[in-house]
C-alpha cells in the first residue's frame, strides 16, 4: 500500500500501523467494549435529568455496583447473581439520592457528590474487611465472569472480505452486556418519546407544576426515573468489574461517570446522539490506547491531549460553539407544591 500520502500528515510508524486492517478491527472492537459502561451510565443520567433530577453520582453508583458485582460473583461463583446484587446496591444509592433531593428537596448536586464520596470510601473499607486484599476483590474466573458470546455464523463468515472482519472481528465476541447496552438506546428512545410514562417524565423535567395540575404525582415520576437510573448504573458497574476486567480495584471507574455526563450534555439529552457521543469518546480512548506516539505534521501529539479531548469537546459545546445545550428547564430544582 502506498503510504506516502499518509506520511504527509502522520509519522511513518502510525501510517504503517494504520494501514493494517487488524489494527482497526482491534480499535473498533475495543471501542464497543469501552463504550458499554459509558453508554449505560449516559442513558441513566439522561433519564434522571429528563425528569428534572441532576445526577452527579453516576460515578459513585457505578463504583459501588462494580464492587458488589465482583464480591458477590466471587462468593457465589455465578456472575448473574452478582449482576442482580449490583443492581440492588446501585438502587440503594439511587433511592438515597431520591430521598435527599426529591423528598427532602436537598441540593441535587451536593447529594450526588456526597454519594460519590460515600461509594469511594465504603467500597475500599468493605472490600478490605471481607477479602483482606488491600481494598480489592480476588480475581474472578470461570462462571464468575461474563462470558464472551460469539454471534451466530461468526466463525463461518470470518474469511469473507470486509464483512468478515466487521461481523466476526468487531461485532462478535463481546459479553451479553455490550449488546444489551446498545439495545437500551432504542428502548430509552421509545420509553421517552412514545409512551405515556415518557411524556409525563419529560414534562416533569420541564414544568412539574403542569404535571401536578393534571393530577399526576411529580414525586412518583421522579422516583421512577431515579430508579431506572439506578438499574442502568448497576449494569454499567457490573460490566466494568466482571466483563471488562476480572475483579474490583479501588476507584476502578476512573472518571467514567463524569465522561458519561459529558456525553449526555454533548448529546443534548437525546438517546441516539448519546450513543454517537459515547462511541466517539470510546473511539478516542481506544485510538489513544493503540496509537500512543501520534505525530501530525511532524508535531508529536501527547496521549494526554487525546485523553482530554472528551472534556475539551464538552466545554466547547457548553460554550455554545457547536450548538446550544439546553438542559431540561426544571432540572436541578426540587418541586414544591403550591398550596
Amino acid at each position: 500500500m502506498d503510504l506516502s500520502f499518509c506520511q504527509v500528515f502522520f509519522d511513518a510508524q502510525t501510517c504503517l500501523q494504520g494501514a493494517r486492517p487488524e489494527t482497526w478491527v482491534t480499535v473498533f472492537s475495543s471501542t464497543l467494549r469501552l463504550a458499554t459502561p459509558l453508554l449505560l451510565a449516559c442513558l441513566a443520567g439522561l433519564i434522571s435529568e429528563r425528569a428534572g433530577v441532576f445526577d452527579i453520582g453516576l460515578e459513585g453508583k457505578m463504583l459501588l455496583a462494580a464492587f458488589i458485582a465482583a464480591a458477590i460473583s466471587f462468593v457465589t461463583g455465578n456472575v448473574w447473581i452478582g449482576v442482580v446484587a449490583a443492581i440492588g446496591a446501585s438502587l440503594v444509592l439511587a433511592m438515597l439520592h431520591g430521598v435527599a433531593s426529591i423528598t427532602f428537596r436537598g441540593n441535587q448536586l451536593i447529594s450526588g457528590v456526597a454519594l460519590n464520596f460515600l461509594a469511594a470510601g465504603i467500597t475500599v473499607v468493605v472490600a478490605q474487611n471481607w477479602f483482606r486484599q488491600g481494598g480489592r476483590t480476588p480475581s474472578l474466573s470461570g462462571d464468575a465472569r461474563m462470558a464472551r458470546l460469539d454471534l451466530p455464523f461468526a466463525e463461518a463468515l470470518r474469511d469473507v472480505p470486509l464483512l468478515g472482519p466487521i461481523y466476526s472481528g468487531v461485532l462478535s465476541g463481546h459479553a451479553l452486556m455490550v449488546y444489551l447496552a446498545f439495545a437500551c438506546v432504542p428502548l430509552t428512545w421509545y420509553l421517552l418519546f412514545r409512551t405515556r410514562f415518557g411524556l409525563r417524565l419529560r414534562a416533569v423535567g420541564e414544568n412539574p407544576a403542569a404535571v401536578d395540575t393534571a393530577g399526576v404525582s411529580v414525586t412518583a415520576l421522579r422516583f421512577g426515573a431515579v430508579a431506572i437510573c439506578g438499574v442502568l448504573c448497576g449494569l454499567a458497574g457490573a460490566y466494568l468489574a466482571t466483563g471488562l476486567s476480572a475483579g474490583f480495584v479501588r476507584d476502578m471507574t476512573a472518571g467514567r461517570g463524569f465522561i458519561a455526563l459529558a456525553a449526555m450534555i454533548f448529546a443534548k439529552w437525546r438517546p441516539y446522539p448519546a450513543m454517537g457521543a459515547v462511541l466517539l469518546f470510546a473511539f478516542m480512548e481506544a485510538a489513544a490506547n493503540t496509537f500512543q506516539s501520534l505525530q501530525v505534521f511532524g508535531v508529536a501529539i501527547p496521549v494526554q491531549a487525546m485523553q482530554a479531548l472528551p472534556y475539551i469537546l464538552t466545554v466547547v459545546i457548553l460554550a455554545g460553539f457547536v450548538g446550544k445545550a439546553i438542559p431540561p428547564r426544571a432540572g436541578g430544582q426540587a418541586y414544591v407544591k403550591e398550596h
Binding site: 478490605q128 481494598g135 476486567s245 480495584v249 476507584d251
Partner: protein, 329 residues
C-alpha cells in the same frame, strides 16, 4: 547566657537520651496503601519481619491524600519515632521540608533521593532488574514483538521501560518493543480496564509477552494476557502466583529488605544514598514453582550470566533517570 549554657545542653542531652530510650521506628506508606499487593505491602512485610525478628514495636501510618504527607511525617517525628521510614518518590519534597526541622531524627526515603545530612535515600536499580526480565521476554517471545505497559508516565517508570527494552534488544537486536503508558494522573495506577485494553491493542500488534509496571492497572494487563493465552511479567512483588502458567516471571524490587535494614540499623544508621542494585540483591527476577515450566534451563543460564556480567560491570545498563534519554528507543 553563658551561665545557662550548661543547663540547656544538659537538658537537651537528657531529652535526647529520653527519646533514645524508647525510639521506636516508624513507617509512613504512600498513597497506594498498606495492602497494595506491591510496593507498600512489601514495606509492610519488611517491617513485620523486623518485628518478629527483634520483638520490637513500630508505628505506621497510611496517608489518604496529598495534603497529609508533610503533616503525618512531622507528626511521626514529633512523637519521637526514630528512624522514620517514608515510602515513595512523591515524598521527596515532604522530607525536604520536614527533615531539616528535626535534625536529631533520622529519616529514610525509599525510591527517591533527598540530599540532607539526616536522610538516607534508598533507590533501586530498576533498570537492571527490568533488563533481566527483558531478556527473558525476548527469549520466550515467538513473534519477535514484546511490549510494556507503564502506569503514570514518570521518569521512574520510563526507567523500567528502558531497561526492559535494552534487555530484549540484547537477546534479539531486531525485536520490536512496544511501550505504552496508562495515563498522566494518579488514576493511571488503578485502571485495570484501560490496562487490559492497552494490552489487547499491543497483542493485535503482534506482542506475545507484556511487562506491566503499573500498580493496580497491571492486574488488568496480567488478566488480559491470560485471557488471550499469552504471557505477562509482573512487577515489584512476586506476582507469579496470580496467573500460574501465564505470568512468565516478575521483576522483583526488594523493598521489604530496605525497610528491614533501616529498622535494624536504627537511629544511628549511615545516611546518604544507598543504591540497591543487582550486586546488592535489591532487584531481580522471580523463579518459583508457578513459572518453573516457563523458564527453560537455557534461558536461566543466559540470564544468570548477564546478571554476573552486570554485577562485574561488563554490561552497563543505561538508567533513563540520569540523562532522560534511552539509547534503544
Amino acid at each position: 547566657m553563658t551561665v545557662f549554657q550548661p543547663y540547656i545542653s544538659a537538658a537537651s542531652a537528657l531529652a535526647l537520651s529520653a527519646s533514645l530510650a524508647h525510639a521506636d521506628p516508624a513507617l509512613m506508606f504512600d498513597l497506594g496503601g498498606k495492602f497494595d499487593k506491591s510496593f507498600n505491602e512489601a514495606a509492610f512485610n519488611g517491617a513485620e519481619r523486623w518485628r518478629e525478628a527483634t520483638g520490637g514495636t513500630y508505628r505506621d501510618i497510611e496517608i489518604s491524600s496529598e495534603a497529609q504527607r508533610v503533616q503525618f511525617a512531622r507528626r511521626l517525628a514529633e512523637a519521637g519515632s526514630n528512624p522514620v521510614v517514608v515510602m515513595g518518590f512523591a515524598n521527596a519534597p515532604t522530607l525536604e521540608e520536614v527533615a531539616p526541622e528535626f535534625p536529631d531524627t533520622t529519616f529514610v526515603l525509599i525510591d527517591a533521593v533527598v540530599d540532607l545530612p539526616n536522610v538516607r535515600s534508598v533507590v533501586f536499580a530498576e533498570e537492571q532488574g527490568s533488563y533481566l526480565v527483558g531478556m527473558l521476554a525476548a527469549m520466550a517471545s515467538e513473534t519477535g514483538t514484546v511490549s510494556f505497559v507503564g502506569g503514570m508516565e514518570i521518569p521512574l517508570i520510563t526507567a523500567f521501560a528502558c531497561g526492559f527494552a535494552q534487555g530484549a534488544k540484547a537477546v534479539n537486536p531486531d525485536i520490536n518493543v512496544i511501550v505504552n503508558y496508562t495515563g498522566s494522573t494518579p488514576s493511571a495506577w488503578n485502571d485495570p480496564v484501560r490496562g487490559g485494553e492497552i494490552a489487547r491493542a499491543q497483542f493485535s500488534q503482534g506482542s506475545d509477552i507484556v511487562f506491566a509496571a503499573a500498580g493496580g492497572t497491571g492486574l488488568g494487563v496480567l488478566q488480559a494476557a491470560e485471557d488471550a493465552g499469552l504471557k505477562s511479567i509482573g512487577v515489584d512483588s512476586n506476582q507469579n502466583h496470580l496467573h500460574p502458567g501465564s505470568v512468565l516471571t516478575s521483576m522483583l524490587k526488594l523493598v521489604d529488605q530496605a525497610v528491614f535494614d533501616a529498622f535494624t540499623d536504627g537511629p544511628d544508621m549511615e545516611t546518604g544514598v544507598v543504591t540497591l542494585d543487582l550486586a546488592a540483591g535489591g532487584v531481580g527476577y522471580a523463579l518459583d514453582e508457578h513459572n518453573a515450566d516457563l523458564i527453560t534451563e537455557q534461558m536461566q543460564e543466559a540470564v544468570e550470566s548477564a546478571k554476573a556480567a552486570i554485577i562485574a560491570g561488563e554490561i552497563v545498563v543505561h538508567d533513563y533517570r540520569t540523562d532522560s534519554t534511552c539509547p534503544v528507543f
